[in-house]
Symmetry: C2
Subunit: 236 residues, 2 copies
DNA sequence: GTGCACAGGATTGTATGCAATCTGGTTTTG
DNA sequence: CAAAACCAGATTGCATACAATCCTGTGCAC
């Protein structure tokens, strides 16, 4: 059993105590696609399921709202967020801006311990796939990306990448059109090999193409414009 | 009186109702340096000052904690955040990465209405300076940067810039070593002229040098390393 | 049969109360 | 005199209660 000790919630917590536990649990369910976009998250219901008071639930929902994983609608409740196609595009544009340079930085400051951690991520991901746990494999894929950003040791940019990768879980739940697992099989391996050689340029290029590959599996075609009137549509 | 209608809290709100009002008020006080880093923000005290219950105060403090403007210490209370020198450096590195390209995008999609808004920002900033309201001028300087990111119309990156500029208020409060106002007098003017010409490359270069200028006014020398033992220090 | 109005129950927003924790001052001990 | 222990008041974490708002189902009018 490969042990992964990194944060299953992806984003470093700003809350503590039972609230943090609940945030981690809900985040993990979102990243593993057990909680799907649009799901209503009722306070009383969560309070019962997790055996905490509504106070803790509200704090956790507020935290998840700040992470843009949950949308709070005043007087209506909390819902797992549904990023629009526009938002999906922008998230991956931002990832394409930040992650390749972060991969380069990671390659340039790679250590044996960090390589070991990355390899453990890949091993755990494969184990999850072999065990038919696709949700877990998906979450571990995301964590692999975040681990790279931590190795690069630029905490501000890493924080942004955490947010982007976390939101990517929702985007993938909504718009993924491939039947296979998220990240192409050899992409993470190739990245780790580049890191092992300390080859920043290779790492940067591999991350770029890896992200392009992910985007190519998302169906981000715009829905028909709502500016078109019903009359125009019906008159062919 | 030049009216500025943009968000004095810098960061788009994720809370609503009285909580949002309180967040805006506290943020503004932070950006105008009326609330200085390290200040204790007691729940009962804020509750009395703002005439809201502790529930609303706690929600607002949590929101400010998510924005990294406030640090919540469990069982000890909330404090206006004090970014370390390391953090200060990283914030401006991230700004140097994001803002010049955002300025370029803004130049390429500039409209008359947007130019008018930017000019109004500059006018309001000068008015505040002339009236001796340096805190307000400071906040308006920050808002100018955020307005540019909104014109660029990339909402994810704009969101990151909001967070970075917001945090810059704390950094400036702690580390500013110049006696003059924050942004050099002609820098914002020059940017607006580049925007007027639609000159993306010029805008990008001007933003780069503008940020370099800001960093040059910050005292970010590292304190002596704490790895040095007391014995080493005392033995000369 | 369809559309509108209303009522009741469910849920959310917020206030308040109580227990847990911390801090600072005082007392005791060596 | 200095350090440790103790205690009381202040503050924070969290639960619970109540008011406000929303949603859905039912009844009535056309």
């Amino acid at each position: 059993m490969t042990r992964i000790t990194e944060n299953p919630a992806f984003i470093q917590p700003t809350v503590s105590g039972p609230t943090a536990t609940l945030v981690t649990s809900l985040s993990q369910a979102i990243h593993e696609h057990r909680l799907v976009p649009g799901t209503k998250l009722g306070e009383d219901e969560l309070s019962e399921i997790y055996n905490v008071s509504r106070t803790v639930v509200r704090q956790a929902l507020q935290a998840l709202s700040h992470e843009q994983l949950v949308e709070l609608k005043r007087n209506r409740g909390a819902f797992v967020a549904k990023p629009t196609i526009r938002e999906a595009r922008e998230v991956f544009e931002a990832r394409a801006l930040l992650e390749p340079r972060t991969a380069r930085s990671a390659a340039e400051r790679m250590t044996e311990a960090a390589l070991t951690r990355l390899e453990a991520h890949i091993a755990a991901e494969h184990e999850a796939l072999d065990a038919g746990e696709s949700g877990k494999a998906l979450r571990l894929s995301g964590q692999f990306h975040i681990e790279i950003s931590h190795i690069a040791n630029q905490s501000i940019i890493a924080g942004f990448i955490e947010r982007l990768v976390a939101r990517s879980s929702l985007i993938i739940a909504l718009y993924w059109k491939r039947h296979s697992a998220l990240c192409e099989e050899h992409a993470h391996h190739a990245l780790v090999e580049a890191f092992r050689r300390g080859d920043g340029q290779d790492a940067e290029e591999l991350m770029k193409s890896h992200l392009v590959d992910i985007v190519s599996a998302l169906d981000l075609r715009e829905a028909p414009s709502t500016d078109v009137s019903l009359k125009d549509i019906l008159s062919g």
